[in-house]
């Protein structure tokens, strides 16, 4: 027998949805529509006039080899940030899950970085790696490695990836820990009795059972790396050296906010929106198939 609770009221579901819909419309749909509208214009910064240019803003962007390159930069950056922050968070969560004494303290300490503002996180890491006064740069020099992210693109990328990933570890850690604690002990114990070692238990039982959490975090982390990291990049490298750390969202910020080129900035926002949309579809269609709920 199918037991189902039904509400006759037609208005109630809409009423309950209304606050969420209002927030979505106000903070997402409206600005997004505005960005699409603006991307067809070449406005002057003061809003006194705007010339309709159709798709010119887009052809201008895609005609620029540097813009196309920043797709590659964004891909490397986002993949590295997601992989690093999720990998470390998983390792820490597994570790914290085993701790019995003082586990609350560990957990709290591990959550702290999430409360740090992106700009502050950037300055923090910048200080440690500053080529002339940074502590880490100093020790690297003692080891014979001349750290200079101001001139070397690879090192600049490494630095922004570390800073951006570090901030996100806490968030990932919380979800992984909750995921781990939801796995029934009996399954793991049964595997242990059958003679499975720690590594085997992890890869054949824990990791597959964590997959919903991992999948959720993958989506969240990619969105984070795409949108929420320009503060860190702005502080640490300013997109340089050359264009080695200029991600798509950083270019939106610098063209629009520093360059006052609102037409191009809006067009870039639209492109970014499409890219993230496609990525999310890919994740849900192909990656999610491998997820066990």
């Amino acid at each position: 027998m199918d037991k189902r609770v039904t509400f006759r009221h037609r208005l109630l579901p809409w009423l309950l949805l209304a606050p969420q819909l209002a927030v979505t419309a106000l903070f997402f749909l409206w600005p997004a529509a505005e960005a699409v509208w603006q991307s067809a214009f070449l406005p002057d910064p003061w809003g006194t006039k705007a010339i309709f240019v159709g798709f010119d803003n887009f052809t201008f962007l895609f005609g620029d080899p540097n813009y196309r390159e920043s797709f590659a930069v964004t891909a490397i950056f986002s993949f590295s940030v997601a992989a690093l922050s999720m990998g470390l968070a998983l390792a820490l969560a597994v570790g914290a899950d085993r701790v019995i004494k003082g586990s609350g303290l560990y957990r709290n300490l591990l959550v702290w970085p999430y409360a740090v503002a992106p700009a502050i996180a950037g300055v923090l890491w910048l200080f440690m790696f500053n080529p002339s006064i940074g502590l880490v740069a100093y020790y690297l020099k003692a080891l014979g490695y001349n750290w200079n992210h101001v001139l070397h693109g690879g090192e600049a990328m490494t630095l922004v990836v570390i800073a951006a990933a570090w901030k996100q570890i806490s968030y990932n850690f919380l979800f992984f820990l909750a995921g781990l604690q939801a796995i029934p002990r009996s399954l793991i114990e049964a595997a242990a009795i059958d003679g499975a070692g720690a590594g085997r238990r992890f890869w054949t039982i824990i990791f597959p059972l964590l997959s919903p959490t991992t999948f959720f975090l993958l989506v969240v982390n990619v969105v984070y790396a795409f949108f929420d990291t320009f503060g860190i990049i702005h502080i640490v490298t300013g997109g340089g050296p050359q264009r080695d750390t200029t991600t798509l969202v950083y270019k939106v910020f610098s063209d629009g906010y520093e360059g006052q080129d609102l037409g191009s900035s809006a067009a870039q926002s639209v492109i970014l929106l499409v890219v993230v949309g496609i990525l999310t579809v890919i994740q849900f269609r192909w990656v999610e198939r491998r997820v066990h709920y």
Binding site: P43, W46, I51, F230, Q242, G259, Q260, L262, S269
Partner: protein
């Protein structure tokens, strides 16, 4: 969308600020001034405002810090779009073309003074300073506030330690090259570094050697201007710098003034930076230092011409009442006063904007007590500015500087030749200029 969000946030913040101050309404007419100074400069600015407010009771100037230069400009723009703009906005020199193109959003200073019936004689201002903010027809658009020009800072102790006579002639890049060789040979780790590479080593380099940075009088002649800083003078200089970078004689520290910390810490022997860096160096340096004129290439005929300014000026925004504009005119005249300017010049290292303030400072014996502080003025006023040395007026200039930074970094890293890098910077920059031209026609 991020941009939109920031702009909306800026506008919201602007509204709150205005709302708060409006709450404390006084009988006197309020004049709002948004600026980009914090720290010591912010204190000095506040003192000027207090002095003005105390000097009369008709107007009250309320100065508000809106972050750094680009944040201040953006706050002003966002407020204008929302109809809540301040009366006076401090805008950095690279924003000049943006402000000029904003017909309807700004009230040119010469018009303001005329309609307010205030006394105004543009000839009292230093030609080299006001030229940057004046139309080709000679009309002053904004009031110069803080202006500086690049000079060479020398760590005399470092030269001596390397066995070089600290009084050696450093007026030409040819001589500097020899000193860099000697420093390197003596094992010095940072013979030369710089701040603001585009401003010092391309914009000022071009003016100093009377080489065009862009066509149509460096953009003063109109929006159709095209970049030309890939000429022989600039290529030769950047190639030499690139060579020094490869040999470890020029150390690149970053796009802004990161090199300043290194020089002040005694790490670098020579440092090209704004004359306004003087106060900081004086306060922190524990070694014997000296200011010298910016070097030039003796091989270039006619050099040295004159250097150009950096810094900011005060723009008056439209949409306020005549009564308020009278207050603005009175305040701008107050700021141009000799005592105010002389004190500002001596306290900050920025240039005085009037000839009278320079004379007053000289008479007070300030230059004798602080040798080198008059070099910036001499360097700027030594020769009458030519069409190629009076300044730059380029749309999207902030982004063009970003492009120059990127391309110069390629030279310092050794991945491009000077010729390639400057050629690429010119063609990338020209695309932005064409966009700006279309948007502002």
């Amino acid at each position: 969308m991020t941009t939109r969000r920031t702009i909306m946030a800026g506008a919201a913040a602007a509204l709150t600020a205005l709302g708060l101050t409006a709450g404390s309404a006084l009988a006197a007419t309020e004049i709002h001034w948004w600026h980009a100074f914090s720290g010591r400069l912010g204190e000095l600015l506040a003192a000027q405002v207090e002095a003005f407010n105390a000097s009369q009771d008709e107007y009250v100037v309320i100065a508000t810090n809106k972050g750094n230069y680009s944040e201040t400009l953006n706050a002003g723009i966002a407020a204008f779009r929302a109809g809540e703009q301040p009366h006076i906005l401090q805008v950095y020199e690279v924003g000049t073309a943006t402000m000029m193109a904003a017909a309807g959003a700004v009230v040119p200073v010469h018009e303001l003074m005329a309609s307010a019936g205030a006394e105004f004689d543009p000839s009292v201002y230093l030609a080299a300073v006001k030229g940057y903010y004046t139309t080709p027809g000679g009309e002053m658009l904004s009031l110069p506030y803080n202006s500086s020009t690049p000079v060479l800072y020398v760590n005399r102790d470092a030269l001596e330690a390397a066995g070089i006579d600290p009084d050696t002639d450093l007026s030409t890049w040819e001589n500097v090259g020899g000193v860099l060789d000697a420093l390197k040979e003596a094992g010095h780790e940072c013979p030369l570094t710089t701040a603001w590479q585009s401003w010092v080593h391309l914009e000022n380099l071009s003016a100093y050697h009377n080489a065009a940075f862009a066509t149509m009088e460096n953009g003063f002649g109109g929006l159709g201007t095209e970049l030309t800083f890939d000429g022989p003078v600039q290529v030769a200089h950047i190639a030499a710098m690139g060579q020094w970078a490869q040999e470890g004689k020029f150390i690149y520290s970053g796009r802004r003034n990161e090199g300043g910390a290194r020089f002040r810490a005694g790490e670098c022997a020579l440092f090209t930076e704004s004359s306004a860096g003087y106060a900081g160096v004086k306060a922190e340096a524990t070694f014997d230092f000296e200011i010298r004129p910016l070097p030039y290439w003796a091989a270039v005929e006619g050099a040295p011409q004159n250097t150009i300014i950096g810094g900011a000026s005060l723009w008056v925004l439209s949409g306020h009442t005549d009564e308020e504009y009278k207050g603005v005119a009175a305040f701008l005249n107050f700021l141009s006063g000799t005592d105010i300017q002389a004190a500002w010049h001596q306290d900050t290292g920025y240039l005085p904007i009037t000839m009278a303030a320079y004379e007053a400072t000289k008479e007070a014996g300030f230059y004798d007590e602080n040798p080198g502080t008059d070099i910036a003025i001499i360097q700027m006023t030594g020769k009458a500015p030519t069409p190629d040395s009076k300044g730059l007026r380029l749309g999207s200039f902030d982004q063009i500087r970003g492009i120059i930074d990127e391309e110069l970094e390629a030279v310092w890293a050794g991945s491009k030749t000077a010729e390639q890098a400057l050629g690429d910077a010119v063609s990338r920059g020209n695309e932005l200029l064409r966009r700006f031209e279309t948007a502002n026609q």
